[in-house]
Amino acid sequence: MTWIDFPLYSSIIVILWIIGLVFLVVSYKKQVVFKIANVLFVAGWAVMLVFVIKLWIELDRPPMRTLGETRLWYATFLPLIGFVTYIRWQYKWFLAYSIAMASMFLAINYLNPETYSKTLMPALQSPWFIPHVLVYLFSYAVLAASSIVAIKGWYDSYQGNFKIETLKLADNLVYIGFAFLTLGLLFGALWAKEAWGHYWTWDPKEVWAFLTWMGYLIYIHYRNFHAHNSKQALTILALAFVVLLVCWFGVNYLPVATTSVHTYTQY
């Protein structure tokens, strides 16, 4: 069980999910059809979990080092967030979105064959590694979901039927995502103290992680005091996500990248 088996597993998952999405689309007011869609989603997700667990065992290290491995986690968390959001707030469109996004991440991984590297450098061998990365990826997935809500909000207001509930869903997601973002940042600081001797060194990745945090901080403060300026709030939310994307993928392409200690893929 390695990345070599990924095409097989990802095809099974994506096929299950696409059939599920078709059922979801035609399930308008038909509970039975919607149930079938859910069964397909859960089945696909179970296959996903099996792949992640087996990959972890086979690699003999947490599969969290490379971008492809983080995309895998993303594809694992998004459906979970979709399920929970559906159970809690009954948003079908959101469930569909999270499944579609997860499928997209699997497709990206399929098109970019990933490193089959079992090695893990000493700096990453720490009990902090798993909580730091998992908390971050979970937070990124939730915040990505919130930015999709923002896009829906924009679309709705162009159509002239914007509902404040949409923004409330965004708020819920941002609060959860921001709490995890804070934890990821602080776990990172505590770990850095153990590994590199200082909790904060303004490494480029740290700078952009801090900026992401500040971006959502602006959104939260703005929302708290200007509950009715929905357009501005949606814009802030979209911009904050752009910063998050720079932090996640973009840092490697910035002129500052050469000085970063967060680049772990040398090949």
Binding site: P113, K168, W202, H221, H228
Partner: protein
């Protein structure tokens, strides 16, 4: 603190100050700071060290308290405790940090960047001034919520006061932070460390390195293009660890690893296990060309600082090579010797520092040219007396994050 929905035409600087005034003040602070940068050409950065940073902290908190308690009706303090001042200072701090995230923080070829100090944002006056406004807002509203304590403010106080504590003690603490590195050689005591400016500093204790150990992963197999010398297989990804008995396929070649020797030396046409300084790993491989079923056998080795590497040309186009093994773990078995004749034994490893008399001692690096035969271990010593205060701030924020995760959604629900 609800928003004024009926938009009334009002003049700039009319009571109360809003966003326009806030950004006006904030940008004014930044411009002032940049002017100071242009005028101030000295290289040294301004830092406060003990006891002045402690005086500053106590004085600052007292002043904030006094300002809130007795001057909260003045225009300035009212503005500082309101949202426009917070949002503008958060935004402007974000802006300057973004500059730091784009422009490399080293001496630049661009004289404008150098003169404005955009290559050392963390000690740039513009950044320090806007950060000062940010902290003042943060401090004042923390004091405000503490003085008007309600249980529903608990999460708010944890987050805001935690951030205030962590930031201010982090900033003031830099003056007292000591980071030294020391080269320690096997079977020799060492007590002269160097700081970032290469000054030698004598330690009150000595390190005696008993043994320096490196654990390595097995080397990897890679397919190289003969013409370019670059890795050809799967865009340079998917390199396989050399493992005895394993079979791997590269393009239309099937490679079997017949034998693997972690320490070996060339004896005639083959490698034999040896145990001497610089003996490299080697592997015996069979390569089967799937197209014509021909089989070739050879030994390859990654080489070391003492011996050359050995690759295997499998066709006109490609060769197989063995990469230099990656390090899995490195550690120093040391004794700390005190002037009183005490001897404390410990093993230092990356991610496993050792605390001794206010110092934290880290395994930093080694002689990477010598690799696992290095008899040099580089240790780092860090003393940060402000750390407890920073940790209090960080743990308050962690608690605040849990509170936020738990309560955040309820708060927004109750609002309407």
């Amino acid at each position: 603190m609800s928003e004024n929905n009926t938009k009334v035409q009002r003049n700039l600087w009319e009571n109360p100050w809003g966003y326009v005034e806030s950004f006006f003040i904030g940008i004014g602070l930044i411009i002032t700071g940049l002017f100071l940068e242009v005028l101030n050409t000295s290289e040294s950065t301004f830092t406060l060290s003990y006891p002045f940073n402690l005086y500053f902290l106590i004085g600052y908190v007292l002043i904030l308290f006094v300002l809130y308690k007795w001057f909260s009706t003045t225009q300035l303090i009212r503005w500082l405790t309101k949202v426009p001042a917070s949002i503008s200072s958060i935004t402007l701090v974000t802006l300057l940090v973004m500059v730091m995230g784009i422009i490399p923080q080293v001496t630049s070829e661009n004289s404008l960047i150098n003169n404005l100090g955009l290559n050392h944002i963390t000690s740039n006056w513009a950044f320090l001034l806007i950060l000062f406004q940010f902290l003042t807002c943060l401090g004042l509203i923390s004091i405000k919520r503490i003085l008007q304590f309600k249980w529903s403010n608990f999460g708010f106080i944890l987050n805001h006061l935690g951030l205030f504590l962590a930031l201010i003690s982090g900033i003031l603490g830099t003056g007292d932070l000591q980071r030294l590195s020391i080269n320690v050689y096997e079977n020799k005591p060492s007590w002269i460390a160097t700081d970032a400016q290469k000054n030698e500093i004598e330690l009150p204790f000595a390190f005696y390195l008993k043994d320096f150990l490196i654990d390595e992963y097995h080397p990897k197999l890679a397919l190289i293009e003969n013409k370019t010398g670059s890795i050809a297989h799967n865009n340079g990804k998917n390199l396989y660890l050399v493992e005895k008995g394993e079979k791997y396929s590269f393009k239309n070649f099937e490679v079997t690893v017949n034998d693997f020797l972690p320490n070996s030396g060339r004896v005639g046409a083959r490698y034999e296990p040896v145990n001497e300084l610089g003996s490299p790993p080697s592997a015996s491989i069979s390569v089967k060309n799937v197209e014509n079923d021909s089989i070739q056998n050879a030994w390859i080795s990654s080489g070391s600082f003492r011996y050359p590497y050995e690759s295997f040309k499998i066709s006109e186009e490609y060769s197989l090579v063995m990469t230099i093994p990656e390090v899995k773990k490195f550690s120093s078995d040391i004794d700390i010797l005190t002037k009183e004749g005490e001897r404390i034994s410990t093993v230092l490893e990356v991610n496993k520092p050792f605390s001794y008399k206010g110092w934290k001692i880290y395994q930093l690096s080694y002689d990477d040219k010598m690799g696992k035969w290095s008899n040099l271990s580089v240790l780092e010593l860090v003393k940060d007396p402000w750390l407890p205060l920073i940790y209090i701030g960080i743990f308050m924020m962690i608690a605040g994050a849990f509170y936020m995760f738990w309560m955040g959604n309820k708060i927004t629900k109750n609002q309407e």
